[in-house]
């Protein structure tokens, strides 16, 4: 029996593993369905928020206020306060592990006094910070455009340095109290891991919008689905953040800086139709409205000029050339809004305990402690995974110490093996990859940026049809070992579950708030200032 089992190896999972180890847990094991650094965290570019006040005066109170404001009435003040107050210490911790933050010139450093209660060592004062959308000050510490990547890899280096064990290519199948079942993708068998405490850090579910998301393929909400099936409560699944400018066919993100540097958004007629620097959800909605009218939408960077573009947006230019075959200095760049982040997740206490599940903790995008509410502020997701990953790791280690060591009695390994065998043996005529694409298209069109009762009900009907058809999927691969189609099928099952909960909640929320927009209820309604929850065997809303 391991002391602490962490499922997921992104920023939250690795932070939890490190904290558990440092808190004295002996056997800390991290299970991941890929390899430790192949996680969504690697894609976070912008930065990690902390009111260090390195560039201009800033305060923790302002950070709290900005976060609450973005959450549009659904942020938990206590949780947000906790995160924002712990932010400078989180940066200090990353600094001690060797995260290669971008730095600023020392000559600027003493011009501003930070009113925060922390006395910052010059090592933190030298960290560069930039302003992101919705922030009242330049608050995001960054490492060029690779902030997430560099934090993630530094955490990984440190985790193995401490002796954390890793299980590669282990897909989570099911949870039980103090036990997790995995599919060992290489060997093709069930692996049962008993643990005194379990931390879920499996990330969000943006990939259910297949073909319309910046998320990596595997962001299918496996941890949320497993927790739901074992009695955890999921909340706020209807709040999905869209980024206004993904490349049209590849969904590769073109960062906000392209508009910040003066890029226009134009429709097929070549007309501008929205203030390009309005908040993300507003811009995304305006673009989507154009698309609904049958117009393509383009990012126009031509007037900026070739030289300036190469200097200001080298990454974006290279991506546009590679993925769309277009030189933005000379031609219009086709774009569309794409799914970027899922605010909802597993309900936890402030100590990251999963409500109603003994010995189970959750942190990061898979969890929902109401930090982001109806919309997430840029720079807060990396902060959340570092702060609450650590809290989860500590809490799990403390729990493991007290655990009386009784081993779970039931054993579902055989039943799970049989279930997988059945999936592999199916003879139906449906194609997994076709259905996966259909689900993504459906969610994007009917449960995406602009929603309505009519569209959501139609989506429900089509989803039921897809669910039925999914039972007739013929995998076309009967290999036991390294069966990629099987893994992707199991992920698809989770996607179908989360899609159902998302559509249900979006139908219930008869108002518009943050990232959730109903064209039939375009106003925010105070009667809906609560979290919509889903629990297996009956949902109850938490007023």
């Amino acid at each position: 029996m391991v002391d602490v089992l962490v499922i997921g190896s992104g920023g939250a999972g690795l932070s939890a593993a490190i904290a558990a180890k440092e808190a004295g847990a002996e056997n800390v094991t991290v299970a991941t369905k890929l390899y430790p650094t192949q996680a969504q965290t690697s894609m976070a570019q912008g930065g990690i928020n902390a009111a260090l006040g390195n560039v201009v005066a800033d305060s923790i109170e302002a950070h709290i206020a900005d976060t609450l404001n973005a959450a549009k009435g659904l942020g938990d003040k206590e949780a947000i306060e906790m995160m924002c107050r712990l932010a400078p210490e989180a940066i200090a911790r990353l600094e001690r592990l060797g995260v290669p933050f971008s730095r600023r010139k020392a000559s600027q450093s003493d011009a501003y006094q930070n009113p925060s209660p922390f006395t910052l060592h010059p090592s933190l004062k030298s960290i560069a910070q930039r302003r992101m959308g919705g922030a009242s000050a330049p608050r995001a510490c960054y490492a060029q455009d690779y902030t997430g990547l560099k934090i993630l890899h530094t955490l990984y280096d440190h985790a193995w340095g401490l002796g954390v064990r890793f299980l590669h290519e282990h897909l989570l199948l099911a949870l039980e109290p103090h036990r997790a079942y995995f599919w060992d993708i290489r060997q093709g068998n069930i692996v049962t891991v008993d643990a005194k405490a379990i931390v879920l850090a499996t990330g969000g579910f943006g990939a259910i919008y297949h073909g319309h998301t910046t998320n990596l393929y595997g962001a299918t909400g496996d941890g949320l689905a497993a927790a739901y099936r074992v009695g955890a409560t999921l909340s706020d699944p209807e709040f999905v953040q869209f980024h206004p400018t993904g490349l049209y066919s590849s969904n590769i993100l073109i960062s906000e800086s392209a508009r910040g540097e003066g890029g226009y958004l134009v429709n097929e007629a070549g007309e501008r139709f929205v203030d390009e620097l309005a908040p993300r959800d507003e811009v995304a909605r305006a673009i989507f409205a154009q698309m609904q009218e049958g117009s393509k939408v383009y990012l126009d960077l031509r007037h900026i000029g070739k030289e300036k573009l190469e200097a200001l947006l080298p990454q974006e230019i290279a991506l546009a050339r590679l993925h769309e075959g277009i030189d933005p200095a000379e031609a219009l760049l086709p774009i569309k809004p794409v799914v970027h982040y899922t605010m909802g997740g597993i309900e936890t206490t402030l100590k990251t305990e999963v409500r109603g599940c003994e010995g189970l903790f959750a942190a990061g995008e898979c969890a929902n402690m109401h930090i982001h509410g109806a919309n997430r502020l840029g720079g807060n997701s990396l902060l959340e995974i570092v702060v609450f990953g650590e809290i989860a790791g500590k809490a799990a280690a403390a729990y493991a110490k007290e655990y009386d060591n009784s081993v779970p009695i039931s054993d579902r390994a055989d039943a799970l093996t049989q279930r997988i065998q059945k999936i592999c043996d199916r003879k139906g005529g449906e194609n997994l990859y076709t259905l996966r694409r259909k689900l993504g298209d459906l969610l994007y069109k009917k449960a995406g940026i602009i929603r309505s009762a009519e569209g959501l009900k139609a989506a429900q009907a089509t989803l039921n049809d897809l669910k039925e058809r999914s039972q007739a999927i013929k995998l076309g691969d009967s290999s036991v070992q390294n069966n990629q189609a099987l893994v992707e099928y199991l992920e698809f099952e989770n996607a179908l579950l989360l899609a159902e909960l998302l559509i249900e909640a979006a139908l219930k929320r008869q108002e518009s708030r943050g990232a959730h927009y109903r064209e039939d209820f375009p106003e925010t309604n105070d009667a809906f200032a609560y979290h919509i929850e889903a629990k297996q065997g009956g949902a109850d809303d938490n007023a």
Partner: protein, 234 residues
């Protein structure tokens, strides 16, 4: 339509796929339309998760960053145990990070400058895609060679002013490490992130000498005839 040739467990199979797409997207096209058993690794599609490196026409590329061309010959990475088709086992290669002690051992409080940060900026762009490991000719003859990505990472921590114990790193990279490199530069040529492991290895050699180590090749090297039996001690 164009033709892709794929090396699958020793045999070569051809598939017709649409043009104008990345290799990763073409692999999924094959999986959906022709053969669901085709096995490969896929992640972020944006060249940052490090999952999808393969070899195309004998050169390491990220599947998500290579536009398919007619006749492309696709093969799995070398020097990794082959699992199935284009999918390899990276566990062994990852162990080189541990063996090279590529981690910050003992932190010392230091206010870094932009110049300090710049020194390791490129090295820390590494996504662990293993392209450099696959192209390295030393690994063909010495499977315990630490390899380019681990040495680049070792260098990144060794020169970090916050590391108070860089000696541990220098000690760890002597055996099957910096001196085994042939400086051929293939790693530098294939890195999708523009990292230069060859130059990092050269820098590590300098640090090693400063720390009191000798170049074992140099000390055993012959300086032509007459050869006074074995090297520098002539």
């Amino acid at each position: 339509m164009i033709t892709l040739k794929i090396e699958r467990n020793g045999t070569i199979e051809s598939f017709e796929v649409s043009e104008g797409q990345t290799l990763l997207s073409a692999l999924y096209e094959i999986k959906e339309r022709y053969d669901a058993t085709l096995t490969f690794a896929a992640g972020c599609r944006a060249s940052v998760c490090g999952t999808c490196a393969v070899r195309v026409n004998d050169k390491e590329v990220l599947s998500c960053a290579h536009m398919v061309c007619d006749g492309d010959m696709v093969a799995p990475l070398r020097f990794h145990p082959l699992l199935r088709d284009l999918k390899v086992d990276k566990s062994q290669a990852l162990k080189s990070l541990k063996r090279s002690e590529a981690v910050l051992h003992r932190y010392t409080e230091t206010a870094l400058t932009p110049e300090d940060a710049e020194k390791t900026e490129r090295q820390t762009d590494c996504i662990l895609c293993d392209s450099c490991y696959s192209v390295c000719p030393v690994l063909a003859v010495e499977e315990n060679f630490l390899g380019p990505f681990a040495l680049t990472r070792a260098y990144r921590y060794a020169i970090d002013p916050r590391e108070a114990q860089s000696q541990s790193i220098i000690d760890a990279i002597q055996n099957k490490g910096v001196w085994d490199c042939t400086l051929c530069g293939e790693c530098t040529a294939v890195c999708p992130k523009g990292i230069d492991p060859k130059s990092d290895i050269l820098q590590l050699r300098t640090l090693s000498v400063q720390a009191g180590y000798n170049d074992p090749n140099f000390t055993t090297q012959s300086f032509g005839t007459p050869d006074f039996s074995g090297g520098f001690g002539f």
